[in-house]
Symmetry: D3
Subunit: 237 residues, 6 copies
């Protein structure tokens, strides 16, 4: 039995709430069970220096965690004076994943910054963040279309992410913190609406894993992301 | 007429929601109109070095703002690499105000850290933060009392805060961002439930002000904080 | 009896010495008793980025303390790697106070930086700094007028500052360090030559204070700043 | 044809040179073609604070790149004042991979730090670093065994890593920089001597990829790491 | 003719004023013409970690420059966030020079920190700082002797420093800023009262120099430091 | 007898290997016995801001040490977050020394950055770095001449450096780490091919030294640098 009493293929209750803050061009409050992430998408009329003059835009992400999003209080990175390796790794992943489905030249020389701030963390913050980020990005692009800033559809597909792993020898989908800290292997999969892979990150936390286990985790994740994409579709309909 | 169509003595809609996050010993989501602040209180079994061996505890505060809490996106302090002067000033104010009403020796050698994170900012974030922080602190102390960590009542009084100012020559209570950026004078008052003053910060934004204007602003703030204290009482009842 | 044997309304010996360093456009060495601050005003032909193209100038301040200005040596902020919250708070206050009396468009697109460095600290460094800063600023503006960089008088009024407080239940003016660390309440007032208020910062250090106490402290400060303005007038005559 | 004229399954010339620096307990200079990484393993009689009293050791890694290891000079991170996200991500990966095969309690309360410094970079620095790090770690552990610091064999298996990818629609093994910057998909695989997986990181650089492509890349990497493990065996024989 | 109309062997007017600040155990305000440095010596009952348990003390130095000590305002290092290379180089030199003449074991496990803050800079700040630092250090040690913290005489000799150089082909002593920026070669000499060398730093600013020129500069510096040592003797008599 | 069994005037085995990395315009791997430094020279089409529009180029240097270049592992400066005083001091020295022999206007508005990274340290890293840096710089300038970026010969002379010192009362040349840590006096000399002095840095590590000792150390260094210049000549022939 999983600590959460869920079935192996059962995800946590997921919700996606749009337009949750007043100023952002797009925003989404995403919950994967007790993991809660606030995502905003900000449009700005500037571009990184190294992109200037190339007639295309950019999508980037930043990630943060409120100090008491966690069981024990985590030190505030602003007060420590730098972002940790985990933070940088996650925000690089989110930005990379989103860019894969955006037609950057269609944006013009503009940048969209997607901020993912974890209000409460119970495992899977990066997968929740990516899933919610797609909604915030979608709404920001819709905002731009309404204002004739872009023509056509710059968003080529959905992006959703979920974790799976091997826990006590059994494959499970969408690990919460209790499972995550016990798992032998833990993987994050980022997929498109068409079911193709954008990113696979599988890590042996305790013991190396086999190709079969990788395939099993991927199969679970495929089911999970398909459901998340369905939810995204209903949300932005 | 005020930009918000409020009467001069009318505050914004205020709400105080308790126990909003899963892990914190105390928490409060406070709204002053469109200004929304999430406050958590964390108990830790450690104390600043300079306090060691003095048989008393400490209450401190940290303050942050999500990047898109504001009309224009603000750079994330964790990414800039340091907290700005405004942030440091506000968190020092919050900590100082709370300590005024706490019996620190009663805490034992323990520290309570109050984190105030602004989710959405429309003026008055520091006054909202202080008002909500009192609730989070109250609940953290209640949590400790339940576990027999403290005897008696370590909280001597309520603490609430509100701004007032002179706008277009007219005194007004609880300025939102539109008023704040236009005001000739802007003041923040932190008061106890007994109506005494903890902190007065009055600033001539455009033109120096008179003693009479200070008195008028104080009178307005007195009415405001009395209402906020009433709301705190109902909230923690 | 006050620790310094002064009368309640008696300020420390104050002196303002002009033109104390060779290179600065304006400078003042200000003493409030044993509190000694060196203030310089620097004119530069540049302006903060966010002010560009608005046809007006800027006045800003920086504050620092030599490591052994204090009883115990304080760590050098340059070696720590950042300015502390107290430093940032004070330099923001000084800059804000000075700008209130300067006609910024009259400066053209130029910036005046007022550096306040505490050589010796015995309480009241911020009030001494502001009082001396007005003199340095005055001389810097005079330097500019001599060179026809500005027409007319860009300085609208004097600015002086003094602290007052409640010590052992008695109101006192211009607290030194011994009193400051014992005071129940401590307030800093920044006022103009015309007797109007620029900034009020009153803080309950131990016990919350009443409106009457605030008024008493203000009345004391009014007398103090009037004397300081008189001294400024004699100094720059 | 690949830019390097290699066959799709052909790796670059790989060499592993041991004992290349005078002081380190273990060291290896690893070359994957024009990618050259110097790896040292340092034994220290201290342990991270959070590990104290748990009767086990730790293995960690740091990664750096000389400024002119790259085609264009890269700014020195020591001079920038912080390590970039890519650096932190890679060093976290290396440390995690090595720990998977080490019996940490066997080390006692000691730490081994593996430093991987890229002398010349032509793609695949992280896979070369991991492959060489295993050799340096092996020699450091041998050094400890010689001195009776550890009993038995704390190293459970080999660890080697290689990249594979899809370039112009064709799967290729061990990408150099020219291929890496053109690839549609790029993956890094860390495997054990027994052929199990320690880490899979597959990223769609341009277009999302399919499960089949993932499997093909994995099959290539399996062949590559098997060869690397053979080379490690010959090297430490 | 030198820009200052001084003779080649003529130093600027030098003065050493003791006990210039209230709190420091030793202090000296040193002037070499228009170069003014405030030096304080602080005694602390702690020692660097790496010196613990070795039954000896430590002498170290820090150096800073007020922003408007210079013709053009220099950015405050505390605000930049780090000390520059020139600052670090000078403070290392001062500490090293002083330690050469102090009997460190005689201090016990205590540290003396010598802070040298440049109030006004007109060339030769490091030589003025060292010359004044000896006085402040002397007085700090005298303070300790009075309190029976040390027995005997821990100060083995005087330390004084002066610059010399080759300007327009002519050797000159004690360069001011105008000469320093024009000199072909510039050297700093730190010497003892007995006329021995503690540190020689000679630098070809424009053209390499000969051994003869080095000897000439040294001969000049020998005369200069002898005079400075005489002045130190009169000062502390 | 010296720890290394060398004669007093005997240098360690020195080697200079050119063109050791693939991308740099010039490079040199220099060994002074067990001290090994990799030097690269990078040409860039940009110039420091303060040099713009002056129709001349710039030569600068950076210095670093791999963590396990030393007997005990040194913390990585990139991870500490800043370069130490010793690093800054050495890189300032190297840049200054090289600029003395380069005709900067001949470079055009271009910058050459010389990176000196210590792979293994056994004393004398700065002298080895300077000696190797001249070779890397020479080759970078040759690269430019081949491409008609410069006309004529911008390199006016050789630059080489060596240390000498007084050890157990005896003058010795080219100290290794064992000697360096025991020496009474330690000096670094930077000289030209013509035998003129660029920089002299002599430091009393334990006891002040005499003018005669300085002369003796200089005489030794003169012999050493002459040999190093000969080796440079053979190397670039």
């Amino acid at each position: 039995m999983r600590p959460s009493r869920r079935q192996p293929e059962e995800m946590r209750a997921v919700s996606l709430e749009r337009a949750v803050v007043k100023y952002a061009e797009g925003s989404c409050f995403v919950k994967f069970g007790d993991t809660h992430v606030l995502v905003t998408a900000t449009l700005e009329d500037r571009i990184p220096v190294w992109l200037k003059g190339q007639a295309r835009g950019w999508v980037t992400a930043e990630y943060g965690m409120l100090p008491r999003a966690t069981l024990e209080r985590t030190r505030r990175e602003a007060s420590v004076g730098k972002q940790g390796g985990r933070t940088l790794e996650i925000q690089r992943l989110i930005g990379r994943a989103l860019r894969t489905v955006v037609d950057l030249p269609a944006l013009g020389e503009r940048q969209i910054t997607v901020d993912c701030d974890v209000i409460q963390a119970d495992g899977g913050t990066r997968t929740a963040a990516i899933t919610g980020a797609w909604v915030a990005l979608h709404d920001c692009l819709a905002w731009m279309k309404t204002r004739n800033m872009i023509l056509g559809e710059p968003l080529r597909d959905h992006v959703a992410a979920v974790s799976s792993g091997i826990c006590n020898g059994r494959p499970v989908l969408d690990l919460d913190y209790a499972e995550d800290s016990e798992a032998e292997t833990d993987a994050n999969f980022v997929m498109t609406g068409a079911g193709r892979l954008i990113e696979v990150q599988a890590t042996a936390e305790k013991t190396p894993f086999t190709e079969d286990e990788l395939m099993t985790m991927l199969a679970l994740a495929r089911k999970g992301t398909a459901k998340l994409v369905d939810l995204q579709k209903m949300t932005v309909m």
